[in-house]
């Protein structure tokens, strides 16, 4: 299972790499926000996969096959990352919304 998890992790990493130009180059701010959000989501999957790879390592060293408790730390971090990522996106969008509103208000007056 270790190879499968490693392959999936590399694929996800490739997905992150393909989103990276969009996050850096834009062209619009919305593209960047979406790209950063996608990278954040993929990071959660990566964290979970690294956790499972640790389980695989334990299995290869003689632990029970269903010993997913070792992945617990990584899943905890992934969960926290998911929650914080959501709030960060909301905050950036809120900031953007306010900026648009202020600029429109300045145009109107």
């Amino acid at each position: 299972m270790h190879d499968v998890h490693l392959a999936v992790a590399i694929l996800v990493l490739l997905g992150v790499l393909t989103t990276l130009p969009r996050a850096i180059g834009g062209p619009t701010l919305m593209d960047r926000i979406l790209a950063v959000n996608v990278i954040g989501t993929k990071t959660i999957v990566l964290l979970a996969l690294v956790g499972f790879m640790q389980v695989d390592l334990g299995v290869s060293k003689g632990a029970a096959v269903g010993d997913y408790e070792r992945a617990g730390f990584w899943l905890d971090i992934a969960l926290a990352y998911a929650l914080i990522n959501f709030i960060a996106t909301i905050a950036v969008l809120k900031f953007l919304e306010r900026r648009v509103r202020e600029r429109d208000g300045a145009d109107a007056s």
Partner: protein
């Protein structure tokens, strides 16, 4: 007070808040044998208030944790931390030596339990202080101007706004 127009964002935020708070308590409780502890749990707990403030507007978010409550909770957490240490001192141990709760002659098992509960107690103190401080920091930095509160602007930002930002 501005309110996020999107029903989806409001719904998701409202559903997410109890889970964020539950997760914060989990992080607090598993600080000994997992990633986390009082500080991390406090930050995650505070993030739920930040989310409410962001989505439902400053005033509604501040209602959940008013200034008076936050100003009491922050020092109360410090007091809990220092208080547990002081109780250990009074019981004849060193500062924060939790074994003093059960006495020097207690068996290993009881000492272990005393250590656990003492640790959870001071972590709870840290969590209370961190939560109140983070909430205060966020809401004081995000405090809207007075005229903005009076205006009560809730304009809808639609797709035009996205294009204009290019």
């Amino acid at each position: 007070m501005t309110e996020t127009p999107s029903l989806i964002v409001r719904y998701v935020a409202r559903r997410a808040v109890p889970f964020i708070q539950l997760y914060a308590l989990y992080v607090l409780g598993h600080g000994e044998d997992g990633p986390g502890g009082g500080f991390q749990g406090g930050v995650i707990f505070a993030s739920s208030f930040v989310l409410m403030g962001l989505v439902y507007g400053w005033g509604r978010g501040r209602e959940d944790c008013p200034e008076r409550v936050a100003d009491v909770i922050a020092p109360a957490g410090c007091l809990l931390y220092a208080g547990i240490g002081a109780v250990c001192l009074l019981l004849g141990g060193a500062f924060l030596q939790y074994e003093a709760f059960v006495g020097v002659d207690a068996d290993h098992h009881a000492k272990h339990h005393a250590h656990h509960f003492g640790l959870i107690g001071i972590e709870l103190g840290v969590m209370l202080t961190v939560t109140a401080s983070m909430v205060t920091l966020f809401f004081e930095m995000a405090r809207p101007d007075d005229e903005e509160v009076a205006d009560g602007v809730a304009e809808e930002v639609d797709a035009e706004g996205e294009d204009a930002d290019a």
